[in-house]
Symmetry: C2
Subunit: 108 residues, 2 copies
């Protein structure tokens, strides 16, 4: 049965997911931190081709503030900072695996 427009609710979950993951590099960043154990800024930047330093900084800050990653500063000289997943970030890894399996199957 065709839904009437009035019966369709705005989906807040999808809207939130869109806001969090809609960033130009979010899925890739979470993939490398979570599934490839890439923890350092420089290494992330090398793996994600084409991302600028300022863009990676911004996206990492957003992922931290959205509760997906932890930033740990070892307070060393030269600076040593590592990024790891929070529990929320970990919970997303099963979704990321499903996304990757779908992509492997359906995207050239």
């Amino acid at each position: 049965m065709k839904k009437t427009e009035q019966s369709i609710q705005r989906c807040l979950t999808i809207s939130t997911v869109q806001k969090i993951l809609g960033g130009k590099w979010k899925i890739e960043i979470l993939y490398y931190i979570g599934l490839q154990n890439v923890r350092r800024f420089g290494a992330l930047r090398r793996h994600i081709g084409g991302i600028t330093e300022s863009s990676l900084t911004k996206q990492l800050r957003e992922l931290e503030s959205d509760g997906f990653i932890n930033r740990y500063d070892f307070k060393e000289v030269p600076p040593h900072v590592e990024y790891t997943l929070t529990d929320l970030g970990e919970s997303f890894m099963s979704v990321l695996e499903v996304i990757k399996q779908w992509g492997d199957l359906h995207l050239k």
Copy 2:
């Protein structure tokens, strides 16, 4: 065992997924077309709060060119255009359901 940086391959699938779905509104658009049967431009715009006409136009064109949606022009006056999922778009709906279930469970 910790992976050495050299052993980590750039993941082309994730990079492609990121390019296709990283748009600011892609996930939401696919949700309303695919899972809520919203087919018209104006209705999509009303459901996705805050999207401009030009932004929706651009994102729909990209989804069409990436093979996720069909645009059918009824060639009527006034103009009547409907968007529906392609087979590729349909194949993504199971992923979108997983994303939504995860979001319902983990996002406030």
